[in-house]
């Protein structure tokens, strides 16, 4: 009786197309590109501020005021909300299990707490930025 186990090849570049679960994971992971983009936009903003003159800063603001950037920011906001923020909150309870006495705190409670904290943080940032 000879053994000859067969190893099924797994594509290193297209494995995520195999099912919906994997595809959604990849859509979530590419939000890291958005994080990097906005980090460097923030650094560019700091560079403009460091120059010390209102003209430099206003030029930076003006660089965002065109159709392409408007669409970019709008799409980025939606995509980021759905595939980063909301996903992150959904996964947070897994990393931080809480137990009161014998009973685990329901993950729904932890998720809800995240949303409440997020709304508060967003409102504070908007208020500091003078949105209202």
């Amino acid at each position: 009786m000879s053994r000859r186990p067969y190893v099924r090849p797994v594509s290193k570049t297209t494995w995520y197309m195999r099912n919906g679960r994997y595809r959604r994971y990849m859509l979530r992971e590419v939000t890291s590109i958005l994080v990097a983009v906005y980090c460097f936009l923030a650094i560019a903003a700091l560079a403009a501020l460091a120059d010390g003159s209102p003209e430099r800063w206003n030029a930076f603001l003006a660089s965002q005021q065109n159709g392409a950037m408007l669409v970019f920011h709008a799409v980025a906001l939606l995509y980021f909300l759905v595939y980063m923020t909301f996903d992150w909150f959904k996964l947070a309870p897994k990393a931080m299990p809480l137990q009161l006495g014998e009973h685990p705190v329901s993950p729904g409670v932890i998720v809800a707490a995240h949303y409440v904290a997020w709304i508060i943080v967003t409102l504070v940032v908007f208020w500091l930025a003078g949105v209202f």
């Binding site: 067969y6 797994v10 299990p97």
Partner: protein, 246 residues
């Protein structure tokens, strides 16, 4: 009881004759309350006795009958035909070498189970034989869900990181290690973390979460792994502080 005719497309592989696996289709008259395992047993008993596959308890406690059913890693005794279409594709558990037909080689995760110190470790002297370790219900509840693992390896079949890097220790072993780390009777967390927070350990996990979605016993290995990452990160700093080992 009415019957349903199912068409099973089953992957076959004879190591003595086949170069590559092939599919063979069987038409099976099924009772409506059957699980896919019953359909496979029907094939073996009535149509093709050469079909090889593992199964045992038929009640979701032994972990033997894990297979891919229409692309999903499942226990075939827990996958009911009432939840399936008429055409069902059955393949051996993904990410494992095929021994024969639907039987896979599980040496890799078994080896990892052995070397991961999955037992209570005490650092103090053993107590006299007439004393027991006391554990409250609250302490038991902390780790109870992770004791439910039946080693069916469906999580390994679901995990894409294991598919890409078989050196990855994998979901079940990590969940079981977490079970011991959370056990109040255990004192071996550092020893285990040294093995499991190593290069091929928890850090290979990118939290796809597929393991927890397919686990037939709701062990939630993904949660165990994320919690171990937190522990691993903290333990790294603890070991760097004076007093910790380095």
């Amino acid at each position: 009881m009415s019957k349903r005719q199912l068409e099973l497309e089953v992957m076959r592989y004879d190591p003595e004759q086949d170069e590559v696996p092939r599919f063979q289709t069987y038409s099976v008259p099924c009772e409506n309350d059957w699980a896919i395992l019953d359909a496979l047993n029907y094939v073996k008993e009535n149509i093709d006795t050469t079909l090889s596959y593992r199964w045992s308890c038929h009640m979701m406690v032994c972990g033997s009958c894990g297979m891919m059913v229409n692309g999903e890693p499942s226990l075939t005794c827990k996958t009911f035909i009432r939840d399936l279409p008429d055409k069902v594709r059955i393949e051996p558990l993904a990410h494992f070498p095929i021994e024969r037909d639907l039987v896979v080689v599980l040496d890799d995760p078994v080896e990892k189970l052995y070397r991961s110190k999955l037992y209570i470790i005490r650092k103090d002297d053993p107590p006299p034989p007439d004393t027991e370790y006391k554990q409250s219900r609250a302490a038991l509840h902390k780790f109870k869900q992770y004791t439910m693992c039946i080693n069916c390896m469906c999580c390994y079949a679901a995990c894409p990181q294991y598919g890409l890097d078989p050196e990855f220790i994998g979901p079940a072993v990590l969940a079981l290690a977490h079970r011991y780390n959370l056990d109040s009777r255990d004192q071996g967390k550092s020893d285990r973390l040294d093995i499991l927070a190593d290069h091929e350990g928890v850090w290979n996990c990118s939290f796809v979460g597929a393991c927890s979605e397919v686990c037939p016993k709701s062990v939630d290995p993904a949660a165990a792994i994320q919690q171990m990452k937190v522990e691993g990160a903290l333990e790294w700093w603890k070991q760097k502080l004076p007093g910790g080992k380095s």
